[in-house]
């Protein structure tokens, strides 16, 4: 792999000298990568992005862009495109003037400028809107202009801070795909901040999950989804059952565990005997099918959601497990009070080591 385009070396940020908004952080972003910083609000993801943009100063550590230390470089000399959640279009300028702004700052000749603006407008499907003011555009159109403005001066790196947060769901999903397509087409490196795990899974090459100023886990979406390293990642990405369990022993890569209710199950993961957490995706559980693990329980709740039915199942000892069953016409779903058997393969049950505190 070539040298990373962006490198954080021990970068930390504290606003008051005590509480750390970002704990010492090491992170590398490859050229052309789509990396998402995912986490709840206050987890440090936006602060990390703003330090890279140059709007916040790191309290410690170094940020390198293309091998150059950026710490003392002001934002306007970093050449990084930024897309903001509230669009941040200049309200007194037309769409064309907004797009011309970064090109004028770079003293680009008029003819080339006009050509670029026309291309950028076509790229975000807003040809014909050049003379509108931002206030005359819808939220989705404004964010397309903001995207075009951040890309028009051909930066190698574009930062996006919850760019779709203010849009409704349908528009958000549509723009997710558009941004992904632009990324593939232009080959630009994108650092994307969101608290929406669905968005992160849809768009990213890699996801860095932030929690309390630290990266909990970083990797491709599938890896994070299938093999979460911590309980936080397991609970934040998609839905999960987190069940306290005791690891009894290991047998050729398979772990024997006992749930707190008494049922013994086979699971996978790295763990030594003792207290642990068993992670089980609701959609990996079958009812009355076959499988190495068969755990009896009683349905307490069944909610029909259209494409699936969500069941709450109480195990012996009172533990509650969520189960998702895909909808198939004519099939009878268990009702509250029915006895069921939860079946799942050992590889669907992941054991996490005891939680660090």
């Amino acid at each position: 792999m070539s040298a990373p385009l962006v490198r954080f070396r021990g970068v930390a940020k504290s606003y008051d000298g005590r509480a750390q908004a970002v704990a010492p952080l090491d992170l590398e972003v490859a050229e052309g990568e789509f990396l998402t910083l995912l986490g709840p609000s206050g987890s440090g993801k936006t602060t990390t992005l703003m330090m890279l943009a140059g709007f916040e100063e790191p309290s410690a550590g170094e940020i390198l862009l293309d091998g150059r230390v950026m710490n003392r470089v002001p934002p306007h000399r970093r050449g990084i495109g930024v897309v903001f959640q509230n669009y941040a279009l200049f309200p007194h300028m037309t769409v064309a003037q907004n797009l011309a702004f970064p090109l004028e700052m770079r003293r680009m000749p008029r003819a080339e400028r006009d050509a670029r603006i026309a291309r950028a407008l076509a790229m975000v499907r807003l040809a014909g809107m050049a003379e509108r003011k931002p206030a005359q555009l819808s939220g989705g159109q404004q964010q397309r202009v903001a995207l075009a403005r951040a890309l028009i001066f051909s930066p190698r790196l574009v930062l996006m801070d919850e760019p779709l947060g203010a849009l409704d769901r349908q528009l958000r999903e549509q723009l997710q795909l558009e941004i992904k397509a632009l990324h593939a087409e232009l080959g630009v490196t994108i650092l994307y901040v969101t608290h929406d795990q669905g968005e992160a899974l849809t768009m990213s090459d890699r996801i860095a999950v932030f929690h309390q100023g630290r990266i909990e886990q970083i990797g491709p979406p599938r890896e994070l989804y299938d093999r979460p390293a911590t309980a936080f990642v397991a609970g934040f990405l998609g839905e999960n059952n987190l069940l306290p369990a005791t690891v009894l022993g290991a047998d050729s890569g398979v772990l024997r565990c006992r749930l707190s209710g008494g049922a013994e199950v086979l699971a996978t993961g790295d763990a030594t005997p003792g207290e642990a957490l068993l992670v089980l995706r609701p959609e990996r559980i079958a009812l009355d099918g076959s499988g190495a693990n068969r755990v009896p329980g009683t349905v307490t709740d069944a909610i029909f959601l259209g494409d699936q039915t969500r069941l709450r199942v109480a195990l012996a000892g009172g533990q509650a497990v969520t189960v998702k069953q895909p909808h198939r016409e004519g099939e009878r779903m268990p009702a509250p009070g029915d006895a069921v058997t939860l079946c799942f393969p050992p590889e669907a049950a992941r054991i996490l080591p005891p939680q660090r505190t």
Binding site: H76, F84, L89, F101
Partner: protein
């Protein structure tokens, strides 16, 4: 129903009370006699003619305009800079600084005038044009600061970050993004500064030298020292100028739309 009529009537009476001096002076300014009497016995434009031909009045008008323009330039630049600093800077004691800046508005003019007179004497600023402009600037700056601060309240600071990310230096971001958006507030502040200086009397009385008659001071002299009906014409002209300024500031405010 009768309540509404009573309120309307009272409001009309108050308005009449407020504008009646102007209504009285308007016909007087067209009188053809030295003796002012309502209604005038004959009509003429002689007082307007004298206003626009007398060296004394022309000099006073010129002085007024020069001082007001200089005050407007100086006060608008200083006031806008102060407002920007107070709004964007992380300044300890921001409230106290703002209160200090607003002091000249609530301080009785005669106190400011006396204080400036004492302070100017050792500096040799009494009786100079520069001293007069400085004095007027001190009492105009608060209006500019408050007008610009009000328009900055509607300014989205993310726009500054956006401008920087697009390659604009802080100076370019100010000129291309901040200034156009707060222009209505700056314009309103400038109009206030001009108006404050243009009809300022007490500071001028204390600070101006013998040759530095401004229009208000000339009017005062024309009433006190030599009875000169030209003041009626001058009053009408000043009144019209004030009306124009008011309309200008209102237009600036409206053009600002959401801001200001």
């Amino acid at each position: 129903m009768t309540g509404r009529v009573l309120v309307g009537g009272a409001a009309a009476l108050v308005l009449l009370f407020l504008v009646s001096p102007m209504l009285a002076i308007l016909p007087l300014s067209f009188s053809d006699s030295e003796i002012l009497r309502l209604p005038p016995e004959g009509w003429s434009l002689r007082w307007y003619e004298r206003l626009f031909t007398s060296d004394r009045w022309l000099l006073a008008a010129r002085n007024s305009v020069v001082v007001a323009v200089a005050t407007t330039l100086l006060g608008t630049v200083l006031g806008t800079l102060a407002a920007l600093g107070l709004h964007f800077g992380r300044i300890p004691g921001r409230g106290a600084i703002l209160a200090l800046l607003a002091m000249p508005v609530v301080t009785p003019s005669v106190v400011t005038a006396a204080a400036l007179f004492l302070a100017y004497s050792p500096l040799g600023l009494t009786g100079t044009m520069a001293g007069l402009v400085l004095g007027h600037t001190i009492i105009s700056v608060p209006f500019v600061v408050l007008a610009v601060l009000a328009s900055l309240r509607g300014f989205d600071a993310t726009l500054l970050r956006a401008a920087a990310s697009l390659g604009a230096t802080p100076a370019q971001a100010f000129r291309r993004v901040v200034l156009p958006l707060i222009a209505p507030g700056v314009a309103a502040g400038a109009v206030f500064a001009f108006a404050t200086s243009f009809d300022e009397f007490i500071l001028t009385l204390f600070l101006a030298g013998p040759g530095q008659f401004t229009l208000p001071r000339q009017i005062y002299a024309a009433v006190r020292d030599v009875w000169d009906p030209t003041i009626c014409a001058a009053a009408v002209v000043l009144f019209l100028a004030s009306m124009l300024l008011l309309l200008a500031s209102e237009a600036a405010r409206r053009r600002g739309g959401g801001l200001g």
